[in-house]
Subunit: 287 residues, 2 copies
């Protein structure tokens, strides 16, 4: 029978019937059904479909070693957050999107080190513990951190003016699961608007801003890895993050402190800001 509106989905699904990888076949069959349902409902003209193809091509071609425009597209359509949410660890710290800026490996640093290689903004101490859901500290947990600077730019966005590795650090918690590092308070910032995703936001009158945050990937043997942010309380755009990543439980107070003794203990000068919170991992499920 000819390929038509009614036979299309089955014809394409049949073409995948010899796929050796059962999960791949399931994903492709489900994708085909939903993609065709979208096309049947939206009824794009041939020209509209050509525009969609051109848009997706431009998204791919905007990607470089230090820029991932398809992650950005997935982010602004809420898909990255949806995938994170569906994979969330039960009982642990809430997860949120990886984002497009974890493109380089964070340099290993010692506890207490600073990730601010420039030193021009107000110092900030970030500290806390890595715990299991029952409150047990997780000794020597790995804490991978990355953030933008006080102007809202990641190091990879300003290779000329920021040192490589600025705002990034790979830490190992101590024997009591404690982590501590120095930094500066990150700024809210716009996601890159000079590519096709920026054009999409402009065409839909959406602002491109993300509230201020620090990224974390936390890992410990026997526990599920956690990808999350902490958000700076009081930052603009907490209620309209361009990538839908804010969860109320991830907003942390970056408190101003004049405590000279605490400043000295943390290797900074008062006044300084201090964010203190725990990162909670769920145990791996038995296979």
């Amino acid at each position: 029978m000819d390929f038509n509106e009614h036979t299309a989905t089955e014809a394409v699904q049949n073409s995948f019937s010899e796929t050796p990888d059962v999960r791949l076949q399931e994903l492709l069959n489900t994708l085909t059904r939903h993609l065709h349902a979208f096309v049947r409902e939206a009824r794009p003209s041939v020209q509209e479909w050509e525009q969609a193809i051109e848009f997706l091509t431009a998204v791919g071609q905007t990607c470089t070693d230090t820029r991932q425009e398809f992650v950005l597209l997935s982010d602004v359509l809420g898909v990255s957050m949806l995938v994170e949410t569906l994979n969330e660890q039960e009982g642990g710290t809430e997860s949120t999107v990886l984002g497009p800026f974890h493109m380089v490996e964070s340099p290993p640093r010692a506890l207490g080190d600073t990730i601010d290689l420039v030193g021009e903004a107000e110092p900030c101490v970030v500290s806390g513990r890595v715990l299991s859901t029952d409150g047990t500290p997780l000794p020597h947990a790995e804490v991978d951190v990355w953030q933008c600077n006080e102007k809202g730019f990641y190091d990879v966005q300003q290779p000329g003016s920021q040192p490589s590795g600025n705002g990034r650090g790979l830490f190992r918690a101590d024997a009591e699961g404690r982590f501590r590092f120095r930094t500066i308070v990150p700024s809210h910032y716009p996601i890159p608007t000079d590519g096709p995703v920026g054009r999409l936001l402009k065409a839909t009158r959406r602002h491109p801003y993300r509230p201020a945050h620090i990224h974390f990937i936390v890992q410990a043997p026997g526990y599920m890895p956690l990808t999350t942010h902490i958000f700076v309380a009081g930052s603009p755009y907490l209620d309209s993050d361009a990538v839908f990543a804010v969860k109320q439980g991830l907003i942390v107070d970056f408190a101003e402190s004049d405590d000279e003794e605490a400043a000295a203990r943390n290797g900074v000068q008062a006044p300084f800001r201090h964010a203190e919170f725990d990162l909670v991992l769920s145990a791996e499920r038995a296979a």
Copy 2:
């Protein structure tokens, strides 16, 4: 309320609420609903979603001035054909996909000219009429033609060994709507398999072949443009086209002929092949 599995779609749709272009807003809202439904049902792991992003990025980065891998992806998922089918002209010749090889303008040629600039394979005459659905000839209709050679390659795939414009021609029908050109019988061929779409076909054990065909775009003032192929009767893969484009009504006999007089009249030597068919356009609908 936090972004979660249940609030995700509404949150993203709300972000599009200020879109000035009503059609764009409708397309994005429909896309968001179907895309999120796919993710909710398929429940991709974070790693699977990363693989999907990497795949789409590679598809975009495989595109060049002479190669459109996203069209190819749309083709092998049956989406291009579905879009064509939903936009089909009623009563006219059936349409089928544009395909990824209409990337250069066809050189204007006179009726009867050959589009085979090499001259090494058996000659073929293609002729017919451009008609309206009531059988009225459409004088001076534009007939844009492109095809691969007898080995299955388009000119743009072999810039070193095929002359530019080989297998392509832009013709204007005569005052009675008749068109006629010389060529060679195209071969069935594999779609390009050295990119990410090829890897998808391999992973799903799908063959990459398309049955032999000649592409047409036909236009006449006051009529809907027609994008179609004619398929060579008897070609392999007529029942399993990698891009789902075959319709029974588009299969044409490329008859062998020994008729010396007909050969001379058409500017070829016997024996030759001859395909004769009409291309029927529907009138534009009133606005």
